[in-house]
């Protein structure tokens, strides 16, 4: 069974989690061009490599960030969003 570590609840079976897509920064809607906005809305970083992603722990409702290698499916670390700047 695959295990993911929730920063609040600790290691839990992957079935308890929902994937929320890559973490992306929204450009400022007032100043961005149509092209920048379309890029934000539609385009994704689907390439191989390590990525920051949103994950949701269903039973407790915690949203958090995971750094995951999307070829090997190895999770390097997980943390709460507010803590993302502190390595």
């Amino acid at each position: 069974m695959k295990i993911l570590t929730c920063p609040v609840n600790g290691p839990r079976p992957i079935q308890e989690f929902t994937y929320g897509g890559e973490v992306r920064d929204m450009p400022c809607p007032d100043t961005s061009t149509d092209t920048q906005w379309a890029d934000y809305i539609f385009n994704r970083t689907g390439e191989p490599g390590v990525r920051r992603e949103w994950w949701h722990h269903g039973p407790s409702g915690v949203w958090f960030v995971a750094e995951r290698d999307i070829i090997g499916d190895n999770v390097l670390k997980t943390y709460l969003w507010s803590a993302r700047e502190t390595p």
């Binding site: 994937y19 539609f42 689907g46 999307i70």
Partner: protein, 414 residues
Amino acid sequence: MPLNLLKFAFRSDYGEPRMFRRPDRLREEYDVVIIGGGGHGLAAAYYLAVEHGITNVAVLEKSYIGSGGTGRNTAIVRSNYLTEEGARFYQASVDLFRDLSRTLDLNLFYSERGHFTMAHSLASLRTQRWRAEVNKHLGIDSQEVGPDFIKEKIPEIDLTCGGHQPPICGALYHPPGAIARHDAVAWGYARGADQRGCEIHQGVSVTDIEVRDGAVTGVHTDKGFVKTTRVLSAVAGWTTHIQKMVGLRSPLVIHPLQALVTEPLKPWLNAIVVSASLHTYISQSSRGELVAGASLDPYELISMRSTLDFAETMAGHMMDLFPFLGDIKIMRQWAGLCDMTPDFSPIMGTTAIDGFFLDAGWGTWGFKATPISGYAMAHTIATGDNHDLIRPFNLSRFSEFDQVGEKGAASVGH
């Protein structure tokens, strides 16, 4: 043992000719380089040669031909899509498929079975009705049918799903829905392209693409550099690797999709049975195995591993529909990579880079499009102008807010 078979076993030269040549090295330059020896890449090579007389073409395949999605899909071919753009495009593919065994002189076991998309709720019945009406409008054979009709055509089905699921209350019925032998499609196109002079290089991986002043000048491979001004990327689940080489961005994300086959049974299931609510599609192959597939794995992953979760859920849903399958064994299970688009339509045609053409976004639905994609991409490469059928599918639709929403028709894989 028949005498002829015995004699054959002792022969040193096996009478059957090879399907295609194995060129021992890459030429210095090609008119067109096609990345990916799946059905799509091979069909494009074939139609470049047949329709446009362009034969200085190399298909570069990092593994063996058909080793990607082409040899891993559940082989369902149909055209009962939801949008006009989609339905027209897939119908053109079905039209080519129907004659393809003859065209390629190879038996593709193309077998029209009738395709049922079961509805377990009024909401899904409403979508089926919508699809049926769009289809009829475009002359595609498609209709909404009730439970009695389903039971008559598929007597083995349990419409109540044993009480484990909401009962089946109707279906979208598409009589031309078919299955085909998918690897034969790859071989047939490969042989046809090879006979006309195109080269198929297996075991050659493209590692980078050379772009100068916004135009393609060549490709780097693990067997050296080749010059070319026209490159077709036909790598489906590997497209995000390739787009990175030319600096293009796209909405593509990769998810695995899994399938399984059971041990062979005597023929009993003629129809192709799909249930959108159960995320299940089942058909019986010409060898008697039940071939079944599910919905996508729940998170992005560029890996072809398969999971026990999938086998358990899938077996459960097969038994909801056909309870007597409880004693039947699963023989094999596997996964393929699906390059998913947000609107469930493909990404095809020219790009912002001169000479770089995309045939991607095939997700869970690209096998059925193999002939028409090859045909339309060959036209686009030869003329530099997007073929009419694929114009709505250009990558630019994601910067022009002009998507082709096919979700209603393709939310379940196949």
